[in-house]
Symmetry: C2
Subunit: 197 residues, 2 copies
């Protein structure tokens, strides 16, 4: 059955991004390389994990994950990922500012949803059919979906770093019922999959 899943890379102290996110530093200061060192240094060890991250029929992301802009759209901006983003399917971007959909190469299309997380989820489920819907981030977006009880499976990729400040996963999510169902890792990361609810 189709699930709503999320994959989040976080620091051991729970941050998904550092402070002061920007065009040059989409994950904020001093965190990107360290949070994802396992992806850069030993991708072959995490091949299955990495494959699952984009194995969904539709995706939802917050506007801050789509780009560094705020307010009215810069229509030249089409995401961080170049001409052929890794999603290869519909991506619903949560925003307060309407914008026409953007078809990209390789099957990715960015749609912009201005009427909230429930609407985005309804549209993503419809688009995904039998496949999973992935809440791709950032932390604030995942926290909203967790708080609303919409997430079925949360896969954390915990880097062994302490960041101290930034955007925190699991903030303001209430008291979700979590059950760890799989745990693996290397010296660069600990993967824990939680069943939610």
């Amino acid at each position: 059955m189709s699930k709503v899943i999320t994959d989040m890379a976080i620091s051991l102290d729970g941050f998904a991004a550092g402070p002061r996110q920007s065009l040059d530093k989409p994950f904020g200061e001093g965190i990107f390389e360290r949070l994802l060192q396992w992806r850069f240094d030993e991708p072959e060890k995490h091949a299955e994990v990495l494959e699952r991250i984009t194995d969904a029929g539709a995706f939802i992301m917050g506007r801050n994950m789509f780009g560094p802009g705020r307010g009215e759209w810069d229509l030249d901006w089409t995401g961080w990922w170049g001409a052929d983003p890794p999603y290869h399917g519909p991506v619903f971007v949560l925003t307060h500012h309407p914008r026409a959909s953007i078809p990209m190469e390789g099957g990715t299309t960015f749609h912009f949803v201005t009427d909230g997380i429930d609407s985005a989820l309804t549209q993503a489920r419809e688009a995904a059919g039998d496949r999973d819907v992935s809440i791709t981030g950032g932390a604030h977006t995942v926290n909203q979906y967790l708080a609303a009880g919409h997430i079925d499976e949360m896969r954390l990729h915990i880097a062994p770093i302490v960041v101290g400040k930034g955007e925190r996963l699991l903030a303001g999510v209430g008291d979700p019922k979590l059950t760890p169902v799989e745990v693996t890792g290397t010296e660069l990361v600990t993967h824990v999959t939680y069943r939610v609810g």
Copy 2:
């Protein structure tokens, strides 16, 4: 070689205790049973983990872990653990208020250290000989030792709960070098051992 180790039970969002710790609720409100459910419900599955928690030659704890009192000592208070505490060795309690040592049954003796964490560690190392020194908690005490670079191994026992507020492990510890070296778990807890430094 003798190591300085710590075992900490924390929530997934990083709390070692909830708010409003008291005599009735030493871990604060609404957290004790949930944080340690794995110890109560399936101790046999965690026999090795539990045995390692008290396998040290000397122990250090903060005063708030020793008891609910603050300020001048209530000399009737000899800890939460009854006549025969589980340490079976010297326990150095960090405090600002001098107090005579308390020998207990089973080999535990509580010593009270008023001149700081370095002094307590020196005394604990001396007492432990070739065995490890365990920083038993609470979070504030462990954070101090982490920040000072004194801890060699940190064993986290991560309960699948979100607490939202309380006393946070890893707060104010700077940027310690951490390497996960062992990860195991059940549906009630994830154990991750980090080499520190």
